[in-house]
């Protein structure tokens, strides 16, 4: 009896020791997504599956979000340490209320907003939208930029009939002809394409970046508290995340499998198709000019100009460079 008790005690001590030593070994970081898991969110999953975060001794916990502002709030209140969200939403939030969140690494260097329509709708360019019914979802950041992109094409908001609907209903509305065109992110292209094909139609995509709306979009942001209290962890994290982005777009099929392994609801094939269709948001003429993973002051300024105009903020409400730090970029 005594012997077994001693043995149990020894075993539990040993277990405790193992548990505590493994807990001590890695730093835990909570990563915030700005939406549900999907192809465009693959880098964090690939980084974990490929061991990039393990290499730098970081254990990652992923939290899904429900939109840019939701993700920002969770980082600002310290529920998450770091994550991806729209830098435009950050700038707007910082201009109105000094949220303690800062951008640390660019991810999408082009805006993902786009119009979608099907062939036969009589629309082949943004200018053709005049008098047409366009559907959008109520909370997308695209809505703020809509007047700008219309203006760039010689239209005003009064020229189109804008209706709002649930994000899940947009594509069916477009296919059934309930709406002539819809507004969504190009991250959806692969999904929309599959659906329109199923209905025997052909998808037309009109990215807003093609018509002049050129700005930073989804960006790696971090809570100021995290950057101040654990700068070393933050630096290692950003390095591993940059590596994960590179891996994801170099091997989209592997990345699709990685995310499927961690979130079985995400279809690996759809995720890799999504990744392939959005490579242009990550690698493009901007990254060719400025370098991958580098912020350019001009483009930060340009992004803020668009964001300020879209949100009706005065241009001097924020010095946009304060929304960004380059201290944590990998050397």
């Amino acid at each position: 009896m005594k012997k077994t008790m001693k043995k149990t005690l020894e075993l539990s001590l040993l277990a405790g020791l193992i548990a505590s030593s493994s807990a001590m070994a890695a730093d835990t970081v909570t990563f915030q997504l700005d939406w549900l898991p999907g192809g465009d969110k693959a880098p964090i999953y690939s980084g974990i599956q490929q061991g990039f975060f393990e290499e730098v001794d970081i254990e990652v916990k992923i939290a899904s979000g429900r939109g840019s502002t939701d993700a920002l709030t969770k980082m600002a209140t310290g529920q998450s340490d770091i994550g991806t969200s729209d830098i435009g939403a950050l700038m707007a939030a910082k201009a109105q209320d000094d949220v303690p969140v800062t951008a640390v690494l660019p991810y999408f260097t082009q805006a993902p907003h786009a119009f979608f329509t099907v062939k036969g709708s009589g629309i082949s360019s943004i200018k053709d939208l005049k008098g047409k019914k366009v559907a959008t979802s109520p909370f997308t950041s695209s809505n703020a930029f809509l007047p700008l992109v219309l203006k760039q094409n010689g239209l005003t908001e009064d020229d189109i009939k804008l209706v709002k609907s649930d994000p899940g209903a947009l594509s069916p509305m477009m296919i059934t002809g309930n709406a002539d065109a819809i507004i969504a992110w190009v991250t959806n292209t692969a999904l929309f394409d599959a659906q329109t094909k199923e209905a025997g139609k052909e998808l037309i995509e009109m990215p807003w970046s093609d018509s002049g709306l050129s700005l930073y979009s989804s960006t790696l942001l971090a809570a100021d508290k995290f950057l101040e209290e654990r700068p070393d962890v933050a630096k290692r994290f950003v390095k591993a995340y940059a590596k994960s982005i590179a891996f994801t777009y170099q091997y989209p099929d592997k990345a699709g499998a990685d995310i499927h392994k961690m979130v079985p609801e995400v279809d690996a094939a759809i995720a890799s198709a999504q990744l392939k269709s959005i490579t242009g948001l990550v690698y493009n003429d901007v990254t060719e000019k400025d370098g991958v993973g580098k912020f350019s002051t001009d483009r930060i300024q340009q992004t803020w100009t668009y964001v300020a105009e879209a949100n009706g903020l005065s241009a001097d409400a924020l010095d946009p460079t304060t929304a960004v730090t380059t201290d944590f970029l990998p050397e």
């Binding site: 939406w35 549900l36 898991p37 999907g38 992923i62 939290a63 899904s64 429900r66 939701d70 709030t73 969770k74 209140t77 529920q79 649930d166 994000p167 899940g168 594509s171 069916p172 296919i175 059934t176 999904l191 659906q195 199923e198 209905a199 079985p264 609801e265 995400v266 279809d267 759809i270």
Partner: protein, 263 residues
């Protein structure tokens, strides 16, 4: 003349007995026919067969994982609201002052749309279970308080007078007279609350969750897998139905006397 009657009534009895099932099956067949004959695409209204296929395309262990996540939160919120509602109603029944103070507050809580408050609760309490349980509890506890209080107040006044004339202490009056009289009311409150608990858990998952049937439905729509979303929805309503039924079973098991007498 009465000879043919038993035969006729056998059909009548069977039809009557299976009426809910016949109605349900008929509805499903009609639905399938409309979808197939009307060539309704899956992304508009998926046919029952597409929904069933989608259901079996998801691994069983995933279903169980999501089910457990939702059920756990729903039941925790439900139990918490019972723990809050019962003492609260006893207090409100016994003290006029407490009733006057708390009732307006309760009505304010009930009339606040929890869906709108949910994101704030998440910010306050974090993205883990506590906030989800609180959201569920906020939705479920009001019907319980109302039904329990109503039940206790409906005790025949003669019974109360009798117990007072016998100098029974107040706790015995509450436990041995008022609560037993309130049992049928409490159980109808519980039946309403348990279905609300599932709704509460789903609302919470829509705001922040990594698992659960509500999350699964939201996830499926975000990937435009409409039949899969429907299968999650139907699974959810079956669970809701079972929980509703199980409250009835518990009442039958523990308080058979409190059920209305069958004719």
């Amino acid at each position: 003349m009465n000879q043919t009657r038993p035969l006729k009534s056998w059909f009548a009895i069977q039809a009557n007995r299976f009426a809910p099932l016949i109605f349900f099956v008929g509805l499903v067949i009609l639905w399938e026919l409309i979808c197939t004959l009307g060539k309704v695409p899956n992304y508009v209204l998926p046919s029952p067969s597409a929904i069933i296929t989608a259901f079996f395309n998801v691994e069983f262990s995933r279903w169980m994982g999501h089910l457990w996540a939702t059920l756990r939160v729903a039941l925790m919120g439900f139990i918490l609201s019972i723990l809050i509602a019962l003492p609260l109603s006893i207090g409100m029944m016994r003290s006029e002052l407490m009733n006057r103070i708390l009732y307006p507050a309760l009505i304010v809580i009930q009339s606040t749309p929890v869906v709108a408050v949910a994101p704030l609760i998440i910010v306050l309490l974090g993205t883990d279970d506590p906030s989800r349980v609180l959201i569920t509890c906020l939705i479920t506890f009001f019907p319980l308080v109302v039904s329990t209080t109503t039940g206790m107040l409906e005790t025949p006044p003669e019974m109360i007078e009798l117990s007072q004339s016998l100098r029974a202490p107040r706790y015995r009056e509450t436990w041995q007279i008022r609560i037993p009289y309130a049992i049928p009311h409490i159980f109808s409150g519980l039946r309403v609350s348990i279905t609300l608990a599932i709704i509460g858990a789903v609302v919470a998952e829509f705001v922040a969750a990594e698992e659960g049937l509500g999350y699964f439905i939201q996830f499926s729509t975000s990937f435009f897998k409409i039949p899969q979303a429907f299968s999650g929805l139907i699974f959810l309503s079956i669970i809701s139905l079972l929980l509703f039924k199980s409250i009835q079973w518990i009442q039958m098991w523990l308080f058979p006397w409190s059920l209305p007498k069958k004719k």
